[in-house]
Symmetry: C2
Subunit: 263 residues, 2 copies
């Protein structure tokens, strides 16, 4: 429930207390607020993937959309709502969840004025399983591919073009991918997409960067940057342990607050 620091502080006058008691919170018309989550991951073939749900009810019935839901007023922040949605939809708890942008055009939802706070979730490789959908929704993990006209979401035989998504979710997804691309160069986002943050090889991290940037990177240079930025600063430390298919690679461990999500 709501818990205001201000109220607990006890520094408020009798007059103000009365004001607050008499305040009518429904004096003005209010919009709805939802959290929409762009859930990204990397599959076994090192392709960037996204979780979409197929809407079981109106509006946009039958269309694919981002998972999301209404914020519970007086009970949670939009961030908590996003976290809750993500967990309900995927079962994943230790994902990166970062606020992306707030969309608020009055006409973006045909039912009413809905303000949507969009988030980007980065899910470790291999841990995004589709949950069996009920009649309200059906979920699916799509590969993100491109053709001349833009993004095409692919999952087995199913193909969804970005312009057929519900609401303004096309823009939200585009923004999320764009942001991830530009962040990956100087922020540790890629670590969140590792299969195992406690035991990983440099090549795995490099593969994730290559997936997101959609280009091959030089082994030696990637390595140097990794050692300089993360190992030498103590953000990541080498394990005395090796693993890998051919010549076993040195494994690393992600100690530290490297993965802390700043607001």
């Amino acid at each position: 429930m709501r818990d205001s620091e201000y109220l607990r502080s006890g520094q408020i006058s009798q007059e103000e207390r009365e004001f607050l008691e008499q305040y009518d919170p429904d004096r003005y018309k209010k919009p709805s607020v939802t959290a929409d989550v762009v859930t990204l991951t990397v599959n076994e073939e090192d392709q960037l993937c996204i979780l979409l749900i197929r809407r079981g009810g109106f509006p946009y019935k039958g269309k694919w959309a981002l998972p999301g839901g209404f914020m519970e007023v007086d009970a949670e922040s939009v961030t908590q709502a996003a976290k809750r949605e993500l967990f309900e939809e995927t079962g994943v708890k230790d994902a990166s969840l970062r606020q992306l942008y707030t969309f608020s055009d009055p006409g973006r939802d045909p039912r009413m004025h809905v303000v949507s706070v969009a988030y980007t979730a980065l899910i470790p490789k291999g841990s995004l399983k589709v949950r069996a959908g009920d009649d309200a929704w059906e979920a699916e993990v799509f590969k993100i591919t491109y053709d001349v006209d833009g993004i095409v979401f692919q999952s087995g035989a199913t193909q969804v073009r970005e312009e057929n998504l519900a609401f303004d979710h096309k823009q939200i997804i585009r923004m999320a991918i764009k942001r991830l691309r530009s962040r990956i160069k100087y922020e540790p986002d890629a670590f969140w997409l590792l299969r195992n943050k406690k035991e990983f090889a440099i090549s795995e991290l490099k593969a994730i960067h290559e997936t997101i940037l959609n280009e091959k990177l030089d082994t030696a240079n990637f390595r140097k940057a990794f050692l300089r930025d993360y190992v030498e600063t103590g953000k990541v430390k080498p394990l005395n342990k090796k693993g890998g298919a051919k010549r076993p690679a040195m494994l690393y461990d992600m100690t530290q607050d490297l993965l802390e999500e700043e607001i």
Copy 2:
């Protein structure tokens, strides 16, 4: 008023039309949504300044706060609300207005659950005048200064410490300044703070960078970077005109979509 692309498209079934007509938008409890604006500028002495208003009513009566106000449901987006607020408070229309972050803790406002979408406005030097406040509020432009405990806002005899601001506005302001600092190095934000975007000297732009970064920059290097990034790319073009106190400086003009605000 609300205008949904979806509804106008005419591609919706009878069934869906009925659904929408019968939909009860007040089925769930809703939060309020406000736009809060961190209005930054640079004064004649090249100091970073911020506009604050003194609250005339409860809650936080008498405290200094960011200008802001409720979004008008069904009529505008939060961005439009922010733009409106900014204009009402300052009379300025051609400012940079960029979304910063959305704050939504249930207890951040003692009256009710208020979701606040924060914006950063960058106002050209010299064009931020305080409007005479009525009894509802009083506005003032404060210099942003620092001491051991954090930010101190100063305006003549008035001193306001950041922890005495209303709501969670301390965090919002901190985030805005931090973001501006990191953006200034690679985004053209500084141009918005110029007194005159159509006729400016390199030294004026440099002074703004120095104000924001709080450090002296090398003339030659700043110059080279400016010519390379803006003049050679055609984003800015030299006028055949000079001006300045001592040796007159070459003036430049900001043609182009350099100032376009991407979403």
